[in-house]
């Protein structure tokens, strides 16, 4: 009985001290439909940037061709070059909870749970969500959307010009 009580107390304390961690990051990424002779779905990294010094504060998702027989897709990870310099090259791939397959054109709705991965340890504050795309025989683009971690907020949107469409971020 006594041990049960202390467990309960502990759980209660954890919830009370860090309510922000219960929030999730909702992201919608529009992959544009491109009329080109040779189309490959883009490699995309979704990561968090500290706006003050442009360092990375965590990687949420990397979409690439991990099933590629020759190089497991890793050969082209460097092409998402900002993410690669700041975060990717420190990681090993495939990365649990981060690696994913490339996605088709259209809006991609994503929910990143605050209780998992990079968000779990993220301190409340101002950040940029960066969506960085690199397409084989295509271009490269990074779209930044500011968000405040620690309390629910209104959705914010930024639009890419070439390799990415609208990126919308909200903390719920």
């Amino acid at each position: 009985m006594k041990s049960k009580l202390s467990l309960l107390t502990f759980a209660g304390a954890a919830v009370a001290s860090a309510p922000a961690l219960a929030a999730d990051l909702n992201v919608t990424v529009e992959i544009p439909r491109l009329t080109v002779a040779e189309y490959h779905k883009p490699y995309v990294s979704i990561w968090i940037e500290n706006p003050a010094d442009a360092t990375a504060a965590g990687t949420l998702a990397v979409w690439y061709d991990a099933d590629n027989r020759e190089d497991h897709g890793a050969k082209w990870l460097k092409d998402m070059r900002q993410w690669w310099r700041k975060a990717g090259r420190e990681m090993s791939f495939p990365a649990d909870g981060v690696s994913g397959a490339t996605r088709a054109p259209g809006p991609q709705k994503l929910v990143f749970a605050g209780s998992k991965g990079a968000l779990k340890a993220l301190k409340p504050g101002q950040y940029n969500l960066v969506v960085e795309a690199a397409r084989e025989v295509g271009g490269h683009e990074a779209v930044r959307v500011p968000f405040t971690w620690g309390k629910p907020g209104k959705p914010a949107t930024a639009k890419g010009a070439s390799e990415l469409g609208a990126v919308t971020v909200s903390v719920k």
Partner: protein, 299 residues
């Protein structure tokens, strides 16, 4: 023509063949196709040449024989699939380990004159052969010592410094910013050491590639501080040729342009044998040149 005179003429031709680079703008370079790679199946292909314009092979190939590789752990690695064409050599390096590789040539040579039995003797060759062939304590000994390095760097996954430790010989680059981590429009810092000590007040030149499509060479000159460090910001993304040269005393060749860097630039270089009677060197001298190709990545 006496036999002696003929020998002298041959020797003069040999020297002229060995040093065409110093009199003009010929530049030696090792140009990797990529400086940043990812994944465990990474290979990089490298072009090696001596050219006027950067980076177009328009003069001579650099011989791949003298090209060395240091892996991320500082251990010697190898080049593969080497071949030499009219204007350039090409070879591959397999990046079997994560980290920064150094691909380079390095040479040390000595020109010497001394007197033996009333006759002036000359030597030209490697530091090792100098020690073997020139008698210790030779009379009227004068030496001109030359050290040159020509390098490039390639990183697979996370950069490392194991391959970048200076040897303490000649002019060398010591990374503050890893040479594969230079980003256009962002400040970077390199340090230069001469025989292991800070190379203060050294002029370092950065020349961007793509010369054919620019009206001016676009070279950037910066000077090291007392600690041998130089802070620089490269304006545009692309490959850059980096060069610095230190000279003191006699050069044995008159005023020269930027160093060609690397032994590959000396096809037909004479061997290390003493070369019969000749005029003595005017005095002692030391020269050291450092050349590298680095990439300024897109921001």
């Amino acid at each position: 023509m006496t036999f002696k005179k003929r020998l002298l003429a041959v020797a003069a031709v040999g020297v002229a063949l060995a040093l065409p680079m110093s009199a003009s703008a010929h530049r030696g370079w090792l140009l990797p196709a990529f400086t940043t790679l990812s994944g465990d199946n990474a290979w990089v292909t490298v072009d090696a040449a001596i050219s006027n314009e950067l980076f177009y092979p328009d003069h001579r190939p650099m011989r791949p024989d003298g090209v060395q590789v240091l892996g991320p752990d500082g251990a010697a690695d190898k080049i593969q699939n080497a071949s030499t064409g009219q204007y350039r050599s090409t070879f591959d390096v397999q990046l079997t380990k994560p980290g920064t590789y150094k691909i380079f040539t390095a040479s040390n040579s000595v020109m010497a004159s001394w007197t033996e039995n009333g006759e002036v003797k000359r030597f030209r060759g490697s530091t090792e052969d100098f020690a073997k062939q020139v008698p210790a304590g030779a009379a009227d000994l004068k030496t001109i010592k030359t050290a040159s390095r020509n390098e490039t760097f390639v990183t697979r996954d996370k950069p490392s410094t194991g391959a970048l430790a200076p040897t303490g010989k000649g002019l060398e680059l010591v990374p503050v910013t890893n040479p594969t981590d230079v980003v256009a429009t962002e400040a970077a810092t390199f340090k230069f050491v001469l025989d292991g000590k800070p190379a203060a007040n050294l002029e370092v030149t950065f020349i961007p590639g793509g010369a054919r499509w620019r009206a001016s060479p676009g070279e950037i000159k910066v000077k090291t501080g007392a600690d041998g460090a130089v802070k620089f910001t490269l304006p545009e993304a692309g490959m850059y040729w980096v060069n610095a040269t230190v000279r003191s005393g006699e050069t044995g060749r008159g005023p020269g342009g930027p160093g060609m860097g690397g032994p590959g630039g000396a096809p037909g270089a004479p061997g290390g044998a003493p070369q019969g009677p000749a005029t003595p060197l005017a005095g002692n001298g030391v020269s050291a040149s450092y050349t590298a190709v680095i990439e300024a990545q897109r921001p």
